[in-house]
Symmetry: C2
Subunit: 640 residues, 2 copies
């Protein structure tokens, strides 16, 4: 078949592909990751690229999603365009998936001295003792004599028991093969790697000499949008590195539903999704180990947390029954897996624990979050709100826990909005309108490319506070003193940054549809909180602390989040933004087997309320589609 | 390099090999297994073959081991002769390893109705309940509903618990992958294979539909000389087939010591020994499954018993420290292994349990034997004597157990004697001299090829009873009325069958060295029994039953075994020949997890007396080098 050369600009990366290859796939092969919300269906318009040289065929999708100017300039959708000549293609910044500056954890817990500071924040709680899921124990073993000639394995285990206080060791055949000479050639000095498995400790590896210092673990938050990993020194408990990247599954669909549709709608549809997230994690491993100069074989344990679909895809389990009534996952309590089973590029015998979930739409990420907040440990009732593509809420104390999940949409992660973007370099993360003038701040203090979650909350709040939108979210053209309101493609939009100021090549704006979108999202989240509070018969005032987690950005202005009616109107001092609580919980499990057990306990004890069949939720949702809310009494402190 | 064609006769099997290939290896490649006691060192003379066409080079080994006639006829040692021309080679019957008619178990226990007859002979003992180590459970599972939407795995486990009463199931990732569609495509009817592992049950496999009937296990006795396997239907407990073959490790050495020397004396010396025994077992599996028309994938469990060296070689564990002071094995309690780890051709997830051993020279075979005899279950003191290449003795009751091992040599298995052979087709297994006339009976009622263990005991007894040898074992030429005594190659020999009567191509005889050899063997076994009895302060009369196990043949004349001083002189009615007790114990473990646990308990509780450093044993050994014994009072009933 005929081949053509496609050169991507400004990267100047060329790739030779067969005629008929999608431009999107050609870009992937050239190492350029192109944005996509819809999984390549031609409906989100995020993958637009400009053909600067070669045949241009604007298809029906391009025509409906691109402006006339763009079409004239040669813009097409990369997912809908097939290579039929040599081409030069310009990929604009906003069409790229950026690997830098992923939002990581903003930790309320200090792990810098875990020997002293116990893993859990309640140091008096014996369950929170520092006990990494995988440990390396250096053993100096006494040589056998005629009086003491038990088998080599029994000798190793006897010494392990002396050094660890653990009981019940299991040694795989693989570790026994060659053991006799390993012991004798190294003067009976070896380092044994052990990992907790159920009630016993499994020997994963036996290395010559003393390698006890070289023991690392990985805590991973497998988000629908981003994957974040922390590299942890398991002996000291110190976090020594953190890295994140965009979930490579995005090319098969932006949200969990579209990925399930992809996985279940075709033969072997699961494989590319599974492979993608493994590639995500392997890239993070390689980044972190390169940065820190450690050998990936010294990573002996991983704990991953994610929603039920992400956890299933990670383990190559079909997610197909998750999305169909009665919403049944294959498994809620995941088995311990070895790295080699999933081709993860660490020690092949390293264990992977996946934080257990509660139900199809309440996954290990929220369980990890509940663990991290310590909600299940205190008698006072507390709340966790995790705002992601799904909004997940958990309420409870050390006696009971309820949770729910509501489809919030990706708006607060920057998805589905014209100039929304993830919290990466160039995103407007803070915004303020003072005396009619607009101020903003971007991540990395560079020219803006778009607006991330925290910026969007600020923007919505500032617009309503300045009466530029009414409580229903409709633009009020009469209030526009600076001429920022304009009509484009048939709808009003508010310009945040002009084309000149921006890096995007055009103005950065928030449109009427964007605002409607944000109101739907915040409405869904608030309605979920309110429904769940009502369900358990509590008022907002009854909660001691309200933890907010999510990918808004590095920071979240809590008053403004209350101001738009996203968070309930309680004393802002009792609301804590904790960033990535899923990652935090995963790391806690990595550092303490007790926490891993506690996570399983939380998952078992948490009652899931299925909102999709809970009528009061729908009423609450409708009532919340107003700024801040149709029931003004719920937000007494909010005054625009 | 130049190649030559070697044709083996009378098989007419041709093989093309490179110049310089050993004839022995060429034969192996042609599928002809040539005997060897010395591991191809040119010192046992068992591998003689006749070159009927091609270059003949009689080397120094051949000259010292073959008779002048043989050399003239073209006989050489296959292990010392290299191919340097096209050749036609005749392999005489006695130089072959025969695969037929291996001695199998002569069971004192009836497994024909295990549902009624419990696995153990003490049916009141709850520990002996029928509970195969791997089970297939057919499940008809209720479909999930909105009210009952636990995960697929939890649903399967819930049903498993209902059907089995077991608690604590573990499901490997592999079994979860694809589970969702397997359940839904088969109307929630699946068969789950589970196997006990420590305190929990592991799910090995989940198959569509009802396959519970198709569940088989393999009990294997891995002997130094022969490997025997029983195919067992695990649902009913019925033995449905049995097969044996000669341990293919023989080509690397006849006894455990020479195999250890082979494994430890060269780079990767362990591999061929390990591969050989796996090949043994795989051949038995293929024989049995072909015979019975079953799918090898339906074999889900195996239990193997063998001495410590055989068990190590089976698991590819180096045996090197076993033979060196202080005699330490790598492991005594073997880990549960999956078939795929050892490339065993059954269900790749099938489990392999190896019966635990006590010490370097008291292995799982004797533990299995003790289990099979029920010694550890009764208050009365009983004895097990397993006569193999090593003589192993265990004495005890339900409160204590002691054991020991003495190097008896392979004489009673037919090894190391001029016309000794294993208990296969053509072996003289019974022999009687009455009124100066000699009667014998061969296995298979065919022309004799040699003499097996039971025949050798008979022969020795008849010779001494007829005063043709004196109590020291020396031939008494004056007593030879039939002219059976003759001198050959410088020593006296007693002809059992003439060249015309025999299949061997020469007369079958017992030489003066053979007799000395047998006396050393019986002396070692008896001395071991006596030493151990003295050690525990008991007399022979104190034992309720004395079980005799070993590869003597299909039958053993107990009075004659007492008559030569091999077995103690107690009421023959209290001595029971039980054949292959190791195989019997392995099958008991296969059919009852309780027996497997009991085996571990026996191994832990049995005290090993190291005879090599126990002075009284040496004295007893010297005293036993007499027929029946230097101390006549020990054998009051024996009168020649």
């Amino acid at each position: 078949m005929k081949s053509y050369t496609v050169t991507f600009m400004p990267d100047e990366e060329s790739v030779e592909v067969e005629a008929g290859t999608r431009l999107m796939d050609a870009a992937e092969r050239a190492g350029i990751h192109i944005n996509s919300l819809c999984g390549g269906e031609g409906v989100c318009g995020r993958c637009k690229v400009k053909i600067s040289n070669g045949n241009i065929h604007a298809d029906k999708h391009s025509i409906s999603l691109l402006s006339k100017e763009e079409i004239t300039e040669g813009y097409v959708l990369a997912c809908q365009t097939r290579v039929d000549s040599d081409m030069e293609v310009f990929v604009p910044a906003e069409s790229r998936i950026e690997e830098t500056q992923i939002l990581l954890e903003s930790a309320p817990m200090d792990y810098s001295e875990p020997e002293k500071v116990l893993v859990h924040r309640v140091p008096t709680d014996p369950l929170s003792l520092f006990e990494p899921v995988a440990q390396k124990i250096f053993l100096k073993i006494k040589e056998p004599t005629s009086e003491d000639n038990i088998s080599d394995m029994d000798r190793v285990i006897r010494e392990l028991q002396r050094k660890t206080d653990h009981r019940g060791f299991e040694v795989a055949l693989r570790c026994l093969q060659g053991l006799a000479s390993k012991l004798r050639e190294n003067r009976w000095q070896v380092t044994v790697t052990i990992a907790k498995h159920g009630d016993i400790w499994r020997v994963l590896d036996i290395e010559p000499g003393d390698t006890a210092e070289r023991n690392y673990g990985l805590a991973v938050d497998v988000g629908t949008t981003t994957v974040v990993a922390q590299l942890v020194h398991l002996k000291s408990g110190k976090v020594i590195g953190v890295a994140g990247n965009h979930n490579l599954q995005s090319r098969y669909g932006e949200d969990v539903i579209s990925r399930m549709v992809y996985a279940c709608g075709r033969e072997k549809g699961l494989d590319p999704l599974h492979d993608a997230v493994i590639q995500n994690i392997n890239r993070l491993i390689s980044t972190l180990t390169d940065q820190k100069g450690i050998d990936a074989r010294d990573i002996t344990a991983m704990v991953a947390a994610g929603n039920t679909t992400m956890s299933h895809l990670l383990l190559s389990l079909t997610p197909c029954s998750i999305r169909l009534d009665p919403y049944v996952p294959t498994v809620s309590t995941y088995p311990q897996v070895r790295a080699r089973e999933l081709d993860m590029q660490v020690n092949p015998e390293a264990i992977l624990e996946v934080v257990p979930g509660v139900a199809s739409y309440v996954g290990g990420d929220i369980v990890a979050g509940v663990l991290a907040c310590g909600i299940a440990d205190k008698p006072e009732t507390q709340v966790l709100i995790d705002v992601g593509t799904n909004g997940e809420i958990a309420i409870g104390n050390n006696e009971w826990l309820v949770c729910c999940s509501a489809s919030a949409g990706p708006a607060f992660e920057g998805g589905g909005l014209r100039d929304g973007m993830r919290a990466t370099r160039g995103a407007i993360q803070k915004l303020r309108i003072e005396d009619g003038k607009l101020y903003y701040e971007t991540i990395g203090k560079v020219k803006p490319k778009g607006i991330c979650g925290s910026g969007l909350i600020d923007c919505l709040y500032e617009l309503v506070r300045n009466h530029m939108i009414d409580p229903e979210g409709k633009f009020v053209p009469s209030a526009d003193q600076q001429g920022r309101l304009a009509e484009r493609d048939g709808e009003l939009q508010f310009t945040v940054a002009s084309a000149e100021e921006s890096e995007a090549g055009h103005e950065i704006a928030i449109t009427q549809s964007d605002i409607n979108n944000l109101i739907r999202s915040k409405g869904a989240v608030f309605a979920a909180i309110k429904s769940l509070m009502d369900y358990v018969g509590l008022k907002f005032e009854d909660t001691e602390t309200l933890f907010v987690a999510g990918g808004f950005g590095n920071y979240l202005d809590i008053s403004k989040a209350i101001g738009i009616g996203l968070l309930p109107d309680i004393d802002p001092g009792r609301i804590r933004f904790i960033g990535n609580s899923s990652l935090m919980g995963a790391r806690m499990c990595l550092l303490s087997t007790h926490n891993l057990e506690r996570a399983a306990q939380i998952a078992r004890n948490m009652t899931n309320i299925e909102l999709s069949i809970y009528q009061p939720f729908m009423d609450e949702y409708v009532a919340a589609m107003f700024l801040p809310h149709t029931d003004k009494r719920l937000f007494p402190s909010v005054e625009y």
